[in-house]
Amino acid sequence: MMNNSELPGLYIHVPFCGGKCPYCDFYSVTTRSQMGQWLEALEREALLYRGRFSLFDSLYIGGGTPSLLGEETLSSLMEGLLRRFAFSSDAEFTIEGNPDDVIPDKAALFRDLGFNRISLGVQSFDDRELRLLQRRHSACQAERALDCLRRAGFDNVGIDLMYGLPGQTQSDWLRTLGRALEFEPAHLSCYELTISAGTPFARMREAGVFAPLEEEEGRALFLATAQYLADRGYIHYEVSNYAREKKSMCRHNRKYWNRTPYLGLGPSAHSFAQGERWWTVKSVSRYIDCLFKGRSPVEGRERLSPAQASLESLALGFRTKEGLDEALFHNRPRADKILKELCESGLVNRENGRILPTPKGFLVADSLPLLFY
């Protein structure tokens, strides 16, 4: 169940953005005044875990918008992390960036600081769509950012895209996808626009400004994406994630899905180790306040019962290409019948003692676990 052979990963949450995108429900603020204190607090938080995690093989600076950090802040962050924690020699170092920040200087800085993987929040190559998403860059800027990363020598670049946008047709979407492929990205994340409660988009939906995709439309787009990318050799290794080759799958994110331990630092960051999950306060101010007062910023924690752990394994396993070990189903009532039904319906394949979801299976991954209870 837990992939203990893998080393843990380290996640840093940078809670700052240049503006708030109306669909986003990640935690971030749009002022930068607390950046300095955040960094200092983060160093203190890192101290709390000294000795608990001996060696990481991935670092993921996410957010928020990490590319917003200035040279000094980012350098000092990296220096601090490298001083406190040990990383394996082949560790994956990812930083997320937005096209409007990724100018040649930044690309060089990333390179110099040791990053070997960049995840770029492009979202779309269509200016109308980018305006709708209230992104702070144009299609042209995105292309320039990609060029400049390539020139800086990055060959492991991931592009984040969104589909299912209001007014977007399937051919609009495939055009964006095609543009992205021209850059031969090592990695692609294709997310269907999800309207989360409390976001401006949710309010617009309530006001009837736009309607989310119908089930069948969402499904058609998902399958078209999967087919398009499969035809071009990409590996569909998680519901929304594709890799050009095996080695370009995101090592860090996979830890979330295969239940490898990880440590998350920064406000609203989640951690998982030794059967326990914990998370920090979802507020930069409170985060800083806690750490400056010598208190822990952890807001909640839970120790997983075996039943909870196996529910997680099911839920996560159905989202990934590796799928699930058949042994997970051995003690479940009627599992054989259900798996047979799922096979016949083309939702999973059974191979070498594993249950492997197909793209159609990915589409119903949220409810598959419940069948086994």
């Binding site: 996640y11 990640f26 997310y191 499904r219 979330y256 009627r334 039904e341 016949e344 939702l347 949220d366």
Partner: protein
């Protein structure tokens, strides 16, 4: 020492028994004005919600008559609905007399007669009381006449009363002490006490309600249950005065309760005789007639681990509802459960709700069935109340189902609609009479099976709530029966099988398939629902698959959020039963019962 009078109040439903009991209780000053509420003996939530009595209740009232003599009156308020007649018959075994109430505006009705017969069987003194004389529609003369002609009692002697207005209460009380004989009891004989009711209390064990015929009893005595020889030491005895009220002793002729730390639920059985271990009675009291169940249905726990829990709940429940019969039953689709017998549909509904509310049980209840009779080639006959045990069709040479005589009282204008409903339900030999201008009473014969599934709901709908209906079983009659099987994704769900009349089989097949289609949620794959008779498919429907529910993002490392959502959905699934790979909601199993317009 007061004299004793033991009596029940019996009547047709709603004729005012519990209201009269209220007046007698108030007359005795048993409750303060603040404590009082209407139908105070209807203590169960279900009784109050439905405005009917479900359980008989005993209460001991002090009374001083006109001559200044003191009495202890043991009153038992009984239910009027036919489904609870077993409560009445057991109450009567503890009495020397009854008040037979007749609603002056309704006159004598089916249960007036049925209950009178029961009282006569017990050789009880019968005091007719005409109630609700305050109503403008009261017809006292006609009611007197009916009492004479239909009941064969003295109509002129009947006491005029309005339980609601408190008119005639003194007369009722005087008649009780004057006409109802005191119990014939020998205090010095060995104890013999008849158990007529019981309830289970998790702290004190089984609390037994009994009538002492001979002897006496006090705390510390060793009692013995005569049927199984179980012996217990008495902790407490007492009488019912709305609450239980402990007494130093109970003696012959009295009605009261015994607490003796009875933790083995099965030791107590209705109709058993309690005697003293040291000085036993030579023979037990006659006890009660067996209940004859009319309607049958199986119940299965939702989670198979809960079987034991359900078994214990049923055992405790049965202490307080002797009319329920049950035995273990196994379904291939639903696992271990119980086949239960009920006295009617209302009884079934009450049992279901009480088990849920009082015992926190959640279970699946299958479509009710009647008791069919099959004649087989080898000359034998079998009685089948569970479609699962339908005999091999090739071996059947004759089949029969129970018929009832139904009485339906409606405003004349609904005649057409009601007749077509009755014809649809295979009604025959109908006769109509006009008891009062504008109202019509239809009497006809129908298969009971046609009545137990949504007939009453439909009647109410077509008469806009103005139809009343009661019935009595008449006999088994020849009938062309088949077994309808239901398959879900090719798998036979035995708990959904039905025995139906051949002429209505297709209609049933279509109905069940359509119902299930509405009740079974969409799955990740499509679900075929089929109705089949002897392997031949006669109806089908399909539940389309849902094809997308995945959320695009798995919020970074926040797995907790995702898992909590699943845990919540998992709880919601508690009311589903897995059959093969399909989740069938609990309510789907009885959904076929519901009228189409619901």
């Amino acid at each position: 020492m007061s004299q004793i009078r033991n009596f029940s109040i019996i009547a047709h439903i709603d004729h005012g028994k519990s209201t009269l009991a209220d007046r007698l209780i108030q007359h005795a000053g048993l409750v303060t004005e603040r404590e009082f509420r209407d139908q105070i003996l209807d203590t169960m939530d279900l009784e109050r919600e439905r405005g009917i009595t479900i359980k008989s209740q005993t209460v001991t009232l002090p009374y001083t008559d006109k001559k200044g003599e003191t009495f202890a009156l043991n009153l038992i308020d009984t239910p009027g609905h036919v489904d609870f007649s077993y409560e009445v018959s057991r109450a009567l075994a503890s009495c020397e007399g009854v008040l037979l109430l007749v609603d002056a505006s309704q006159g004598v009705q089916a249960q007036t007669l049925a209950n009178l017969y029961m009282a006569m069987e017990h050789d009880l003194e019968i005091i007719p009381v005409i109630n609700k004389i305050d109503l403008p529609s009261a017809d006292i003369e006609r009611t007197r006449e009916q009492i004479e002609t239909e009941l064969g009692l003295d109509g002129e002697e009947a006491i005029l009363c309005s339980a609601k207005e408190g008119i005639g209460i003194e007369d009722v009380l005087e008649a009780i002490v004057e006409h109802i004989p005191p119990p014939k009891a020998q205090k010095d004989a060995p104890l013999s006490a008849l158990i007529f009711d019981a309830s289970y209390d998790s702290f004190r064990g089984t609390i037994v309600s009994c009538r002492l015929f001979d002897g006496s009893l006090r705390p510390g005595d060793l009692i013995r249950f005569m049927s199984n020889k179980a012996v217990y030491k008495v902790d407490e005895v007492g009488v019912f005065r709305i609450q239980r009220e402990p007494r130093p002793s109970l003696s012959a002729g009295e009605v009261g309760y015994i607490i003796s730390g009875i933790k083995t639920v099965s030791d107590t059985s209705m109709g058993d005789t309690i005697t003293l271990d040291t000085h036993p009675a030579p023979a037990p009291l006659p006890g009660f007639r067996e209940v004859k169940s009319v309607v049958f249905s199986s119940i299965y726990p939702i989670a198979s681990d809960d079987f034991q829990d359900l078994a214990e709940a049923l055992e405790k429940y049965k202490l307080n509802d002797a009319a329920l019969t049950y035995q273990k039953d196994t379904s291939a689709a639903l696992g271990q459960g119980f086949r239960c017998g009920f006295l009617g549909l209302l009884h079934l509904e009450i049992v279901q709700q009480r088990l849920e509310r009082e015992y926190g049980q959640t279970f699946i209840m299958t479509v009710p069935s009647v008791q069919y009779r099959f004649t087989l080639q080898d000359g034998g006959t079998v009685t089948v109340d569970n479609p699962q045990y339908y005999p091999d069709p090739a071996a059947i040479i004759g089949s029969a189902e129970p018929y009832i005589r139904a009485n339906i009282l409606i405003p004349e204008r609904y005649m057409g609609a009601v007749m077509s409903l009755c014809m649809e339900r295979r009604g025959i030999n109908s006769q109509s009479t006009y008891p009062t201008p504008g109202r019509i009473e239809i009497s006809l014969e129908m298969p009971l099976a046609e009545v137990i599934v949504d007939f009453y709901d439909r009647l109410k709908t077509v008469t806009q709530g103005y139809g009343s209906f009661d019935y009595a079983l008449i006999e088994h009659r020849e009938s062309d029966l088949v077994k309808l099987d239901i398959l879900v994704n090719g798998e036979k769900v035995d708990a959904l099988s039905l025995i139906v009349h051949k002429a209505r089989a297709r209609e049933w097949g279509v109905k069940v398939c359509e119902r299930l289609k509405k009740e079974i949620p969409r799955h990740q794959f499509k679900i075929a629902i089929q109705g089949a008779i002897g392997g031949k498919i006669i109806s089908r429907s399909t539940v389309a698959a849902f094809r997308k529910d995945v959320t695009a993002k798995c919020y970074g490392g926040d797995i907790t959020r995702k898992r909590k959502l699943l845990e919540k959905q998992k709880k919601g699934k508690k009311r589903m039963k897995m059959v093969g790979s399909v989740m069938i909601p609990q309510k789907a199993f009885v959904a076929v019962l519901k009228s189409d317009d619901e």
